[in-house]
């Protein structure tokens, strides 16, 4: 990991000097995670593309804004993508309002014990979970996307989110609890619908 980070830093130094091959190497390495991060955060392909392009454009136009002593290149790029996604969502009103925090608190106790995804097909599970992730508050959604979907370490996620590892762990815990409750609600809703039909 540290070796990859040093390699990334060397690539950024070469980008500063105008080495296109170095830029391509960084792009190939991080385009997918950045795109997926923006996609999971916004739930919108166009926004994800725009964010990916803008994040790498920033690396082209001001590569010196990356400071190795402050963290890894990955953390730097995720940080840019995070800010761009937030800005884009604010601009496009794509932010899904969260209105279920209050009653979800009550549901947490039983959600932790019950079978939340039983009887759901793979496609239904994916769809339900994606939907649930999109309804999470930004701070929790970022933690889930970075740690659970992009498989970043707490340290790397903390770097990208500009907070401590403890905060990341805490947000992740809270996010998972909310997801379970949301999935349980989806399941209950589905059962009711089936019974009605």
């Amino acid at each position: 990991m540290a070796e990859l980070s040093r390699d990334d830093q060397e690539l950024v130094r070469q980008i500063v000097r105008g080495d296109e091959a170095a830029f391509r190497a960084i792009y190939v390495r991080y385009q997918d995670p950045i795109y997926r991060f923006a996609l999971h955060m916004s739930g919108n392909g166009a926004t994800a593309e725009e964010v990916t392009q803008e994040a790498f454009m920033l690396l082209i136009t001001s590569p010196k804004s990356y400071q190795p002593e402050k963290g890894s290149v990955a953390g730097y790029l995720f940080g840019i993508a995070r800010n761009l996604t937030r800005r884009s969502m604010l601009r496009g009103h794509l932010n899904v309002p969260i209105a279920d925090d209050a009653d979800e608190g009550d549901g947490l106790a039983f959600a932790s014990d019950l079978d939340i995804l039983e009887d759901m097909t793979r496609a239904e599970t994916v769809e339900a979970l994606r939907g649930a992730i999109l309804t999470l508050p930004d701070l929790y959604r970022e933690a889930v996307v970075l740690c659970d979907l992009e498989e970043l370490s707490y340290a790397a996620a903390a770097e990208a989110l500009q907070c401590s590892e403890g905060t990341v762990a805490s947000r992740l815990h809270r996010a998972r609890s909310l997801l379970k409750t949301k999935l349980l609600k989806t399941k209950i809703l589905k059962t009711k619908l089936l019974k009605t039909n």
Binding site: G18, E20, F23, R24, Y27, V28, Q31, D32, I34, Y35, R36, L39, H40, A48, E49, T52, Q53, F56, M57, I60, T61, A111, S112, D113, L114, D115, I116, L117, E118, R122, T125, V126, L129, R130, I133, V144, C147, D148, L149, E150, E151, R176, L179, K180, L183, L184
Partner: protein
Amino acid sequence: MREIESGSTKSDEQLARALRTVAGESAGGAPSEIGNVLAGKFRSHHARRRTTRRLLVTGLAACLVATVMLGGLLARKKSLSPTSAQSSPKDSPVQTVLPQPSTTAAEDHSGPNQISKPKPKFRAARPSLKNDGTRNLASHTVEFQALPAYNSTVRLEDTSVVRVELPSSALRLVGAPMSGDSGQSRVLADFLVGHDGTPYAVHLLGVRRTE
């Protein structure tokens, strides 16, 4: 995906599994067009940057050359000014003896006493060529001052210029015009000498005072 902590319930495991499934389903990345667009922008950005830098460097070099030339011109103008020759700072470790207003060798036949007399204007005549293509020493007057051994019949081609540093007393011995307060200083000078080593003229370049 990170394993959900120990003591996890069935729902935790199900959620972890579901998250792994979502991560697996989202394996796609950015469209390849974005990569191509970015590569093009990278090239154009750096081409523009290189051009800007080149212009900047050229501009700076031009400014530097202009400054140096201006400085040189000012220094030359100052050195040609007769008043500046009298006002050289005494505390400077190396004092430059600015060219004394010299006269043409042809005008100076009257001996060493008249040579050291400063004339109000500096006259720098180019060495003229005789009809036979040879130049006469008498016509070579630029910054050199004739010494007592000066001989107007000596041709310029029969002389050479030798740069030496010697005590001012030695200069006085050969008849060079030295001011009285030059004391124990050492003087850097160009001598115009004949084939036999006779010094015909001198051009004082600088004085180094010895404590």
